[in-house]
Symmetry: C2
Subunit: 194 residues, 2 copies
């Protein structure tokens, strides 16, 4: 059975490839803004709904395959953040994050045809240290536009690690894909050697 990743996020693909999981990436077709606008629940509930919707958008037309969907939500003091619209907004987000605790929630779902077979959500907390304006400008000089694709305006595998004084939670969850539970679910389904 083919394994498809309903995501064109480079980091999620890299995580699977590095782990030695054979997959193909397919772009999901989901109106994320519409799902978010209509959602009143928790970050974990929203991330799980989006992960499932992304996977289903692919598996409906590929019922022969097992499809992985995933999504991440960043919120700070109850305010949910999307990818920055431009460098000015990125700086604005970083000024808001400064000295505050960021909650990052990632969810992953496995679907086959019309069915969500399995799903999992996990949360991490990242303490942002107090950031000076000059640091923020130098940081964006170094890592823009790469971080424009990142909710939270950071790549933990890059200079983004300099934003934080402490991190609690699973690394793979922070990168956008709760990898260990996913590998377990793939083993249970005979998609990976045990």
């Amino acid at each position: 059975m083919d394994l498809l990743l309903a995501s064109t996020s480079p980091i999620r693909g890299t995580l699977l490839a590095n782990a030695g999981v054979p997959y193909s990436a397919v772009r999901p077709e989901v109106d994320e803004a519409a799902v978010k606008a209509g959602f009143a629940g928790s970050d974990a509930g929203l991330a799980t709904a989006l992960a499932g919707a992304k996977a289903l958008s692919v598996s409906r037309s590929r019922p022969d395959a097992l499809v992985i969907g995933s999504d991440s939500i960043v919120s700070v003091e109850g305010r949910r953040f999307s990818k920055p619209g431009g460098r000015g907004q990125a700086a604005e987000h970083l000024r808001f994050f400064s000295g505050r605790s960021m909650q990052l929630t990632s969810a992953v779902a496995l679907t086959c045809g019309e069915t969500v077979e399995w799903r999992h959500a996990a949360e991490a907390r990242l303490q942002v240290r107090p950031l000076t304006d000059s640091f923020i400008e130098a940081y964006l000089d170094a890592d823009w536009p790469e971080v424009s694709y990142c909710v939270g305006v950071f790549r933990l595998e890059g200079p983004g690690v300099q934003l934080f004084s402490a991190i609690e939670g699973d690394h793979f969850t922070i990168l956008g894909l709760p990898l260990l539970p996913l590998l377990g679910a793939l083993r249970e389904r005979g998609m990976l050697a045990a």
Copy 2:
């Protein structure tokens, strides 16, 4: 002031480089086996002693520089493991790890001249899932000899992630360098922009 990394470990260098920290790598001159043989304390104590000894071995001849030393200790049920001596021993280690909890301790030290200015140790726990012999052989087919350089016989950034069912603790500590506390110590010393 120059920043030197008293390590030729590729992963530690990559962690610093990815974080945007300018450094040069220098090979430390420490008889690790002798230090380990004479040490009766905890894993954290031993890792800290080795991190300090490595850094001092470099900073004594480069008193103009700030030197980073680091070390990692892997133990399972109280037994400390070294890098495997060959593929046969790697398989033996993996069979011992199977189904058990691995404790991984990493320490980092900063030295200047004859002085240890700062040090920090952190621990992580990795639950190894039950591994079949056929999995172990396929795993070593895929990642040998790369894992021959790794205490614990795994690269978490590679297929090694498939060994584990759960991980508790800081990702950078598991990779061999408690990066967030180190970045904080470097900022305090004016070696990194705040």
